[in-house]
Amino acid sequence: MNNRPREKGAPQRTPLWARHREAGGKIVPFAGWEMPIRYTSILEEHEAVRSAARLFDVSHMGDIILTGADAIPETERITTARLSGKSAGFIQYALLLNEEAGILDDILVYLLDGRVMLVVNAVNRAKDLEWIRAHADGDVDVTDSSGEISQIAVQGRASEMILSRLAGDGFVDPGYYRSTKATIAGMETIVSRTGYTGEFGYEIYAPWDGAVAIWDACLAAGAGTGLKPVGLGARDSLRLEMAYCLYGKDIDETVNPVEAKLTWTVRGKKEEWIGKEAYREVKEKGTDRLLTGFLLGKKEIPRHGFDILHEGARVGVITSGGYSPTCRAGIALGYVNTAVATASEGFEVNIRGRRAPATPVRGSFVPSSVKGDEEDSK
């Protein structure tokens, strides 16, 4: 099976599509793919990730590989990643910016042996590929490996035990935001301590055709902890609780890193990079709006597009909103006018004509658990 369209215009399927159907997954169209949004209940799936561990198929994500003598410096010029002095295994969350410092994509940059892998949003894969090919200079080959690489995420505190069973005694946890090679189900894979849930967890990159064997091996290794698959619905509510941006909702080409509070992705970057000039200008002048989190009441659920008010006046709009199973309340991210962005009170969200009080939240809505106990103490 491969990820070429089944017919022109038809949504693509990951190699695990049949597994999702068999497991009772509710399949919906997502970014050109047929993906499971849930198997049973988003609430139950969300809570299981927070309390134990669950399995996600994220094979729809794109994988772009850069090779050649200039792969590292060109990645540093085309993205906000800083790779010089880093060794194989290093991973960075980075942005792909256009000349105006608008966010083309938010990506993970993997420094591997002799190559760089960019893990990109499915919805942006073709655009990113075109952009990178148009801007890459010197000795660098840009390959779209999205159809050859599957991606499976094991997320939750039980995932460390599951991975050591899966990958055998030789497996050593690479540490947060680092990757390592591991043999799983007889296949060579790349395992990274990354995720989109705020929990301790791993993402496994394996050959496309090996995804089913890896998936089944994960379920077998996690059987003792009740490991089951979860859908993209829980992935979205988990990331929103961490205030992680979702491309297409919270960030897009009309948003710059200052507005999205993603300036940390650019920190310490010295050489020339695409968007640098515009970014410096924005940084100096400041922006009109800033991404802000809001916690609402138990019965107030903000949704994408709802207006944000401050002392009765409209000051912004919700970009991501929903119910937080952990907070048991409505939570949201949205852009508000910079003039009021640091205010600590006076906010409301217009929920279908009703004004619901909203408390601004800096940082995540739920404490992050991405690091192990020993890592925390370091």
């Binding site: 609430l43 619905g233 019965k299």
Partner: protein, 130 residues
């Protein structure tokens, strides 16, 4: 898909059970399954007077929000108070304890285009229930 034959349905996936001029309204098993986990239901006040196709309640699920419409005019005579604490009664028992509102049907009003169970079943099949 569970579709009891003792009541009627709307194209918006609601069920209506009329007894002595009082219509009980809820959502179907298909609707609750499509909505997913229901976390809150905004209910009307008893005594509210509704026109046909008015929104009588708003159902907030984790991923989405849906309005409950009344297919005919009338006065709200009872709301399911238990839903304030247990909105997931609608997920667990959509045709029973998960009923949402009771409306005294306005005698002048027309009880419009309701579907029988078999017709509703065809509608659900057309919409591609899993």
């Amino acid at each position: 898909m569970n579709i009891p034959e003792d009541r009627q349905y709307t194209r918006e996936h609601e069920w209506i059970l009329v007894d002595d001029g009082i219509a009980t309204i809820g959502v179907t098993d298909f609707a609750q399954s499509e909505l997913g986990d229901i976390v809150f239901i905004e209910l009307p006040d008893v005594g509210d007077v509704m026109s046909a196709d008015d929104t009588v309640a708003t159902i907030e699920a984790v991923k989405t929000v849906a309005d409950l419409f009344t297919p005919f005019p009338g006065k709200v005579v009872e709301v399911n108070e238990r839903l304030a604490e247990d909105p997931d009664l609608v997920n667990r028992d959509p045709y029973g304890e998960g009923w949402i509102v009771r409306i005294e049907v306005d005698g002048e009003g027309e009880v419009g285009d309701l579907l029988e169970a078999a017709e509703y079943n065809s509608l659900v099949e057309e919409e591609g229930a899993d």
